[in-house]
């Protein structure tokens, strides 16, 4: 699945955030989007994932040359891990299983996939623990696990390491790196950390003056 955004405009209380923002995201590539605080990175991800509407402009998801309708069907093929993931007041296991349960998956299938995803993010030993008792780094990994279990075609990660210790940052980076290696998911991630961006990205982008540009190499 490809994503093409064209001429996106978005302003909050008269203050423009995105100004004629256009870009084409190809499939199965890891994009890392950098930019200063308030540059519009998060707004951009929220608009791409249909959490917010742009003031103007167009977001088009396509498979081959066929555009996909922006309905529940599309919503279930993409996902966004928010900086504050929104932990459900239950166990780690039930948090991770959520996406499959709402899709009506069978119990055996859920169990198998939860075990696999939890192992992938290194939380398999915490599956019975209450999710609200996890550390901030583990919580972020839980958010990634919750997103990965639904096997999104495009995974949006909004600053997944912003409030995480170095050890968990390393684990999260290794998860993104493993997804990049597998090459089955398009990842669009935002970060402040230039070195991290260079470590993880196939394509390095920067949000500048409300527009997305390719990052000039150093």
């Amino acid at each position: 699945m490809k994503l093409s955004v064209s001429h996106i405009m978005k302003a909050y209380q008269g203050r423009p955030i995105l100004k004629d923002c256009s870009f084409c995201f190809d499939r199965n590539i890891t994009y890392v989007l950098m930019g200063s605080n308030g540059s519009g990175k998060s707004t951009f991800l929220r608009i791409c994932t249909l959490l917010e509407s742009p003031d103007s402009g167009e977001i088009v998801y396509t498979v081959g040359d066929t555009p996909i309708h922006q309905d529940m069907g599309l919503r279930r093929r993409i996902t966004l891990v928010l900086p504050r993931i929104g932990v459900f007041n239950t166990t780690v296991l039930k948090n991770v299983a959520y996406g499959l349960k709402i899709r009506g998956a069978h119990h055996a299938d859920i169990e198998q996939k939860v075990a696999r995803v939890l192992a992938f993010v290194g939380l398999e030993h915490k599956k019975k623990q209450h999710a609200l008792t996890l550390s901030s780094g583990e919580t972020q990994r839980l958010g990634i696990a919750r997103a990965l279990i639904i096997e999104p075609e495009i995974l949006f990660l909004d600053e997944p390491t912003a409030s995480v210790d170095p050890e968990n940052t390393e684990i999260i980076e290794s998860i993104v790196h493993a997804m990049r290696k597998e090459g089955r998911t398009t990842v669009i991630m935002t970060t402040h950390d230039r070195e991290q961006a260079e470590r993880l990205a196939d394509s390095l982008l920067v949000m500048k003056h409300g527009k997305i540009e390719n990052m000039p190499s150093t």
Partner: protein, 234 residues
């Protein structure tokens, strides 16, 4: 003082020997209040969810009205239900006055705003990020609503228990619409009022002890639920 000690000792004897009259009154009280609570929850929870999760003109006013109705005076509710169910009232043809269904109706009216208002409060206190998290994971609007209600479950349980406490201890409305008929509409609170008037303190005290015990259990339950809800968030 002697009268009190003697009354208490006879009251404990009635409780200890499982006096049939006492048991009948307790059973009817629990049945009336329990059914009123179930009915109030069936209507109150969706109303609370609607007030908490949707946006519509007059929403704030509706919340204020619901909060105000939490303090409905029971005798006013009793009077209203009486007028509706009396022979000349709009529902007089049903012949429900001075029957347990009339008492259930009155208690439902009293419990409904408590359930609706406290459920609304529990739902609006859920972090808005939960709605976004569910949406990004592919939940339909209906599934998002269910998720938020599930997140608010401890608050909702507290609302239901608080409403049960209110209707169990209520006397004004059920006395008016039930008529305090022995073996038919006589419940714990109305019996206490009647027996006190008659100077028959044993049964009144026995029922008072049981009512207090129920109130204690309700408060313990509330405390446990609230503690569980906050402990998870700690």
């Amino acid at each position: 003082m002697d009268a009190l000690i003697s009354g208490l000792s006879k009251a404990f004897s009635l409780i200890f020997h499982l006096n049939p009259e006492l048991l009948g009154i307790i059973y009817l009280s629990l049945k009336v209040s329990g059914l009123a609570l179930v009915t109030a929850t069936i209507f109150g929870l969706p109303t609370g969810a609607l007030l908490g999760l949707s946006r519509f003109p007059g929403q704030s006013a509706s919340v204020s009205v619901m909060n105000t109705l939490m303090g409905l005076p029971p005798v006013v509710v009793g009077l209203f239900v009486y007028l509706v169910l009396s022979r000349k009232g709009p529902l007089g043809f049903l012949g429900l006055l001075y029957s347990p269904p009339a008492m259930i109706l009155a208690q439902t009216i009293l419990a409904f705003p408590i359930v609706a208002s406290l459920c609304h409060s529990a739902i609006v206190n859920i972090d808005p990020i939960i709605r976004q998290a569910a949406t990004t994971l592919g939940a339909t609007p209906g599934q998002v609503t269910v998720t938020i209600i599930r997140e608010a479950r401890y608050g909702i349980m507290s609302a239901v228990i608080a409403a049960f406490g209110r209707v169990m201890a209520e006397v004004g409305s059920i006395l008016i619409v039930g008529g305090n008929i022995a073996g038919y509409t006589r419940v714990m609170t109305t019996t206490i009022a009647l027996e006190t008037d008659k100077g028959n303190f044993e049964l009144a005290l026995a029922l008072g002890i049981i009512l207090l015990s129920i109130s204690f259990v309700i408060n313990v339950l509330l405390h446990v639920i609230q503690k569980k809800g906050t402990a998870n968030r700690a």
